[in-house]
């Protein structure tokens, strides 16, 4: 759910939940690190479970967007945890490694799962990472691009190492997000619930019947 409010100054501020998915070692954490801190390590520790980060970007002079990012572990067995992240996600970046053909297959299966299971308005971007290793490329740009087109995905080839297309990727997602509808919902109360109250029954609205 996008939290968007109009402040008195007329600027728009919106929060969106973003989840990163993809096979292990394709560079999910590196993409986030580049986006959030503009850093890069050649060898990044494997992500266990998940990491949570935020980054705020100015989309234009009057619009600020805060991404709340779940960076996930890539190994297959962690997949069972994924619904927890994408259940309420507004956008997803599905990452593959252009030097590993199999990682695109994995990305495709993630896209399928998202299209089946996630929020129906979810914005999905496909990111072919490790563009700096172009010499070892196994996945042609045209192939991935064609797939992205037919599946209705945003598509970028990125390099977390050089930073190429990283900001562009996240900005493009931000531009696709439903800012207009979000900003019209200017509720006085912040989103969510009063957490000072003790636990209580789940309201019907949040229960999609899935107990996983």
């Amino acid at each position: 759910m996008a939290g968007a409010r109009d402040s008195s100054s007329g600027t728009r501020f919106a929060q969106f939940k973003l989840v990163l998915l993809g096979e292990s070692a394709v560079g999910k954490s590196s993409l986030v690190l580049r986006f959030v801190k503009d850093q890069f390590d050649d060898y990044r520790e494997s992500t266990i479970g998940a990491a949570f980060l935020t980054q705020t970007i100015g989309l234009d002079e009057s619009t600020t967007i805060k991404f709340e990012i779940w960076d996930t572990a890539g190994q297959e067995r962690y997949k069972s945890l994924a619904p927890m992240y994408y259940r309420n996600a507004n956008c997803a970046v599905v990452v593959y490694d252009i030097t590993q053909a199999s990682s695109l297959d994995k990305a495709k299966s993630w896209v399928k799962e998202l299209q089946r299971q996630a929020n129906e308005n979810i914005i999905i971007a496909l990111a072919g990472n490790k563009l700096d290793l172009n010499a070892k490329r196994q996945v042609e740009t045209s192939v991935a691009d064609a797939y992205a087109r037919e599946s209705g995905l945003l598509f970028f080839e990125t390099s977390a190492k050089t930073g190429e297309n990283v900001t562009e990727l996240f900005t493009a997602i931000a531009k696709r997000l439903p800012l207009e509808t979000a900003s019209t919902r200017t509720r006085a109360a912040p989103k969510g619930v009063d957490l000072s109250r003790p636990s209580r029954r789940a309201p019907a609205q949040s229960n999609n019947g899935c107990t996983c």
């Binding site: 266990i48 962690y78 636990s199």
Partner: protein
């Protein structure tokens, strides 16, 4: 770093193994079949005591060597270059020994501050400075802590001498004192770093495994090299993503200091990184050892195979003990201490997270109010089947044994207690982290922000003594949570999860009737787990609407099962499904439940 192979010469091995084992173990065959792997020694010494090393002529080294050549040829034919380079490298030193942690070498790290603040290393070879801790903070703390460690070392030496335990040539006790209140206190105050590996191995009863499976490790990793198991590619991917900042794991080229990798200095890494990747630098010995340990493990425990996080667990073990021992410790951790946690469906992790969430809800209601919510901001009824998203963070705490969560000195102190005292320690520490971060967590207004806070709080807990003392202090600590309680809760959560997934529809009918459900309401009630419906006098403050107790719950006196809100399970007792029991009662009850179930089965 100096690497000392166990193999002193082609046909002589000098391991630290009881003499009784020598006669038996090695049949000289290198079997890749399962019978060969599982075959264990028949005639082993009964004592776990290690005596002076005795050179024993066996054909082991020759076998390794012969096998290396077959590895080479098979790797070549399969085109697996990574394995090729490994086997070449391991030809001369089949086993990794943590030479850097021989006591004489420890001072090297203490005295070498590194070329820059960002590269200053601690005694284990990790960076002192992190995103959360400045070098100044580290050094200030270390100045105090180092003295503390030295004091503890003296105390430990006295204890060991009092127990009449001799030291080996490296000054490490050859055994450790039997468990007692005093020893427990000593362990909690920290095992001397130089003895840590030996003590962990001792208290985890690693010797039993080693003794019973002499030579198995070598056969396993060799088999793993010849015919890589399905998970070998995943292992390869993570080898260089395991402690890349640690001086022992880091690529040799980095170690020369030619390419300082400094967090924050993005410019330099951009320009030089590609040359690093492509350069043909030999792997660090510990990385090769890590490969062998993980390969052997994935073969030995196929139900688990390779799970991300085991790379860190094995990696840390390798800094403290020889690889064969590290391998058995990995087996012990995953089988005995954290059963099922790393298995393919991660169910053990889910179960423990369910247990942890129960504990948080009971002990730290303020924290629970913030972390118990889903991403939609709501608390869900059935938190056991639908774990709150915060468990995405906390599951990693358990799976990696707090590596990467707490600063490393705190991690090893937690592990001291863990191997001595079992998995309850992880629950206690997790609760302590929440307790120490309680005010920060409570001040969070944005429900998403809580994830950041929970991630960050433990990273600041540099002073291991603060953490351990907060955990075990009498008042407001968590030292009273017993292993029995944890085990009972694990059983409960496991049953509930299994039940809900397998037969949600007729759950209320199947309970008890199938006999195998430990926590059927009738069984629980009859055995005293559940307060009888009318027996509410002890629970005056129980709020039937919210399902929480207003009075402070006390683990030791009143072990509570939370109202997990399942309407189809324990339906009659949905509002009373806590059980009050003491530590010793729990055992009796457990037995009673089992008797009950057995009767039903019969």
């Amino acid at each position: 770093m100096e690497v000392i192979g166990l193999y002193q010469s082609e046909d002589t091995i000098i391991p630290r193994v009881p003499p009784g084992d020598y006669a038996v173990a090695h049949d000289g065959s290198l079997s890749s079949g399962s019978s060969g792997i599982l075959a264990s020694a028949q005639n082993r010494g009964s004592s776990g005591m290690y005596h002076e090393p005795i050179p024993v002529p066996i054909g082991k080294a020759n076998i390794s060597k012969n096998n290396q050549s077959s590895i080479l040829s098979s790797s070549t034919s399969s085109g697996n270059l990574k394995f090729l380079s490994t086997s070449t490298a391991s030809k001369s030193h089949p086993l990794f020994v943590p030479g850097s942690f021989a006591s004489s070498n420890w001072s090297n790290f203490r005295s070498s501050p590194g070329t820059s603040a960002a590269n200053a290393r601690d005694r284990y070879g990790f960076r002192k400075q992190s995103q959360y801790i400045t070098l100044q903070e580290y050094d200030d703390w270390w100045a105090r802590y180092d003295k503390y460690c030295q004091r503890r070392h003296v105390k430990w030496e006295a204890l060991i001498e009092d127990c009449g335990i001799p030291f080996d040539e490296e000054g490490v006790p050859i055994t450790f004192p039997p468990k007692s209140k005093k020893v427990k206190r000593y362990v909690r105050k920290g095992i001397p770093a130089e003895w840590r590996g030996a003590a962990w191995f001792w208290y985890a009863r690693g010797h039993d495994y080693l003794r019973d499976n002499y030579g198995l490790y070598d056969r396993l990793w060799q088999q793993g090299m010849v015919s890589p198991p399905p998970d070998s590619e995943l292992i390869e991917r993570d080898l260089h993503r395991t402690f890349p900042d640690n001086i022992h794991f880091r690529n040799a080229e980095w170690q020369n200091g030619s390419v300082p990798s400094t967090p924050g200095s993005t410019g330099s890494s951009k320009s030089t990184a590609s040359s690093r990747r492509n350069s043909n630098v030999p792997e660090m010995p510990v990385v090769q050892a890590l490969r062998r340990v993980l390969l052997a493990f994935s073969l030995y425990v196929p139900k688990t195979g390779y799970c991300q996080s085991l790379n860190f667990v094995a990696g840390l073990l390798l800094l403290f003990m020889e690889e064969e021992k590290a391998f058995w410790m990995l087996v012990i951790i995953t089988q005995k201490y954290l059963p099922g946690m790393h298995e393919i469906n991660l169910e053990g992790a889910n179960i423990d997270q369910g247990v942890l969430m129960m504990c948080v809800k009971e002990s730290l209601p303020t924290v629970w109010n913030k972390i118990g919510a889903g991403l939609d901001g709501f608390h869900h009824d059935d938190m056991i089947m639908r774990l709150p998203p915060i468990t995405l963070c906390t599951a990693a705490w358990f799976m990696s044994g707090f590596i990467g969560v707490l600063p490393i000195e705190s991690v090893v102190r937690v592990w001291d207690c863990f191997f001595y005292d079992d998995s309850k320690v992880f629950f206690r520490i997790a609760l302590t982290i929440f307790k120490l971060g309680e005010s920060q967590v409570d001040s969070v207004r944005d429900p998403m922000e809580v994830f950041q806070v929970v991630q960050t709080v433990p990273k600041h807990l540099l002073d291991a003594n603060v953490l351990i003392q907060a955990c075990f202090r009498r008042r407001n600590g968590f030292g009273h949570i017993s292993q029995d309680e944890i085990n009972e809760r694990r059983k409960f959560v496991a049953e509930k999860r299994r039940h809900n997934t397998s037969s949600a529809a007729d759950a209320s009918v199947s309970l008890g009737a199938k006999g195998g459900v430990v926590l059927s309401s009738s069984a629980l009630e009859s055995s005293g787990y559940l307060p009888r419906t009318n027996n509410s006098s002890r629970y005056k403050h129980y709020d039937a609407i919210t399902g929480t107790y207003h009075s402070k719950s006390n683990f030791g006196k009143r072990m509570q099962l939370l109202r997990m809100g399942s309407t189809n399970m324990l339906s009659l007792h949905a509002r009373n499904d806590y059980f009050g029991t003491s530590h010793s009662q729990a055992k009796e009850h457990s037995a009673a439940v089992e008797r009950n179930n057995t009767t039903k089965e019969e």
